[in-house]
């Protein structure tokens, strides 16, 4: 019969229309600024720099190795190395970034910087409301704006942060054990002979693995 298909389709729309009054599942939209969907743990929007402890400047994990700057596909990271050094999380003196800028308008949220970072220093944030009225300075985030605490990282990505902490603790324990063994060996040597031995105790090869360019 001509028109049967049309009527069948209309019955389907009628079913959906009536269903939207009884079934919550059919109402899929959310009125955004007032209503929000639950945040998704895996979400990635824009990178931030992780710091340990209370002081963001002293606790930054970044050692300005510039691997992320080199690997970033749209080249939105800008790093300047410091002239002096500060101790990192295992107590080893390290260079730190005197300048670390990321351009929000260029970043494409791909997470490559996070994957290539050997120091677990850069992670992805879930904050997505980054709009600003100043399109030049406001979109270029400097290291102070990028620095966020490890507690914040735990709050937004609990699973990943726990893994990262376990990995870092393991590394730290390894470095400490090595330093202890070296110190003991040096002490034993000093006790045995009178020579002023003291080899450079804790100097583990912690150069970034991917420097060979």
């Amino acid at each position: 019969m001509l028109g049967e298909g049309l009527l069948k389709g209309l019955a389907e729309t009628a079913r959906n229309f009536a269903g939207s009054y009884v079934s919550k599942e059919r109402l899929t939209t959310v009125q955004y600024p007032e209503e929000r969907v639950a945040p998704i743990e895996a979400a990635r929007v824009f990178p931030f720099l992780v710091y340990d402890g209370a002081d963001w400047e002293a606790g930054l994990r970044c050692v300005a190795c510039q691997i992320c700057e080199k690997e970033c596909p749209p080249k939105c990271i800008y790093i300047e190395k410091s002239k002096d050094k500060k101790p990192d999380y295992v107590g080893k003196p390290q260079i730190y970034p005197a300048r670390f800028d990321i351009d929000v308008s260029v970043c494409m949220s791909c997470q490559i910087c996070v994957e290539v970072c050997p120091f677990e220093a850069i992670k992805m944030d879930t904050e997505f409301e980054l709009a600003t009225q100043d399109r030049f300075g406001g979109l270029l985030h400097d290291r102070k704006q990028l620095a966020k605490s490890n507690e914040y990282f735990h709050a937004i990505h609990p699973t990943e942060a726990a893994e990262v902490d376990a990995r870092l603790d393991e590394e730290k324990a390894k470095v400490e054990a090595k330093a202890k063994a070296a110190a003991e060996a040096a002490a034993a040597k000093a006790a045995a002979g009178a020579a002023p031995a003291a080899p450079p105790a804790a100097k583990p090869a912690e150069k970034p693995a991917g420097g060979g360019e």
């Binding site: 028109g3 298909g5 069948k8 895996a42 979400a43 970033c72 994957e115 290539v116 360019e213």
Partner: protein, 385 residues
């Protein structure tokens, strides 16, 4: 231009007198709502009939291939998301496959399953969209498309929960996948897949027997199999023309030899067939998804020997291709042993499928051009690159 190079006008014989036939040249696009992006068609019309059609593209050119030569292998992966931005996961897979061939890498079992699951979910949502937009072009303004969007939203939520992004997934890596799927994610995927057959039934009841749809699409835009093959058309377009060619069956890349599914073929070669083929393929994708989600094994998701930094495959060349939702998507890479590819070439299905547009449109009304273009299912990010 010197005088000797000036062309002689009218030297090829007397021009025919055509006072009564005046062609109207219309430029459809690049900002026409039916062109699915920035794409232009220069159409010459005799009344309502199309006598000439010239596709003009390049408005969205982003230098993708040259960027690929300039960036490291890994840094090109997020750019592949932006080729066909509806189906980023299949783009990832094709590129990863090419690099794995180049570097001779193996992929763990679980990663292969995850690739199949994500790729088939991508195919499902692409076909839902393709059908929805085709109906939108036909004037069914909103309803079928919005039903499709409602379903696609569930799939995109799955993508976000797994990869962190809804459309720019950047999920696959050379030698596996970036992150593992949690049991909760797999359960969520099972739930979404269980809802898909009901949605397909609903969509079929909504439009498939609709008299207006049939009148508009049946017998329109016929693409003969011989022409389709010689033009290099692939994907649902080719299968709607009755040619049994599906790279999942031909190459059996990944682990596609483990799943039982059929390849639907059209026998009228028109827009309606291309519409129906996508719905039938959606049903086959659901079958694959059910099987894959049932027997996904445990284990690692990335080859432990895979390198993230300082990845330099040995010199050589490789072509990796997969059956993307729109057709054969291939990446051709030449390595000279350095950190960047020496040559990086994409074989995009939309671009090749689009070359046949004029042959399908000739002799049809200008309103049908919109439908025929819609049935090709193009994404301009991939056409222009």
């Amino acid at each position: 231009m010197s005088a000797s190079e000036t062309r002689m006008v009218g030297s090829g014989g007397a021009p025919a007198m055509q006072a009564e036939v005046e062609l109207l040249e219309v430029s459809m696009g690049p900002h026409h709502p039916s062109t699915h992006g920035v794409f232009r068609m220069d159409v010459a019309l005799d009344g309502e009939k199309v006598v000439k059609l010239k596709p003009v593209f390049g408005y969205l050119h982003r230098n993708h291939e040259k960027l690929g030569e300039d960036h490291s292998y890994l840094a090109s992966m997020p750019y592949t998301d932006r080729l066909d931005y509806i189906c980023s996961l299949t783009n990832n897979w094709a590129y990863a496959l090419a690099v794995e061939k180049l570097a001779g890498q193996e992929v763990p079992e679980r990663a292969e399953y995850l690739r199949v699951i994500t790729a088939e979910l991508t195919r499902a949502q692409n076909h839902i969209l393709a059908v929805g937009f085709l109906l939108q072009d036909m004037g069914a303004s909103g309803t079928p498309l919005m039903y499709g969007f409602r379903e696609r939203e569930k799939i995109l939520d799955l993508f976000e929960a797994l990869t962190g992004s809804r459309m720019m997934c950047n999920y696959m890596r050379f030698g596996g996948c970036r992150v593992d799927a949690s049991p909760a994610w797999l359960d969520g995927a099972r739930k979404v897949v269980a809802g898909l057959p009901g949605f397909t039934d609903e969509l079929e009841a909504l439009v498939c027997t609709n008299e207006i749809l049939m009148a508009r699409t049946q017998g329109v835009g016929i693409l003969r199999p011989e022409l389709a093959v010689s033009a290099g058309v692939t994907g649902p377009m080719l299968r709607a023309s009755g040619v049994n060619y599906d790279i999942r069956k031909v190459d059996r890349y990944g682990i596609y030899d483990r799943f039982s599914f059929k390849v639907p073929l059209g026998d009228h070669w028109d827009v309606y067939d291309r519409f129906m083929i996508r719905l039938l393929e959606l049903r086959e994708s659901i079958k694959i998804l059910e099987q894959a989600l049932k027997d996904i094994p445990g284990g690692p998701v990335i080859d432990p020997k895979a390198k993230i930094r300082n990845f330099r495959p040995k010199a050589g060349e490789a072509y990796g291709r997969i059956e993307a939702p729109k057709g054969e998507l291939g990446f051709y890479l030449i390595s000279d042993g350095g950190p960047n590819p020496y040559r990086y070439r994409v074989r995009p299905p939309s671009f090749v499928n689009l070359t046949i547009l004029e042959d399908m449109c000739l002799g049809h009304n200008v309103a049908d051009v919109v439908l025929i273009l819609g049935s090709v299912d193009i994404v301009l990010g991939e056409v222009d690159r």
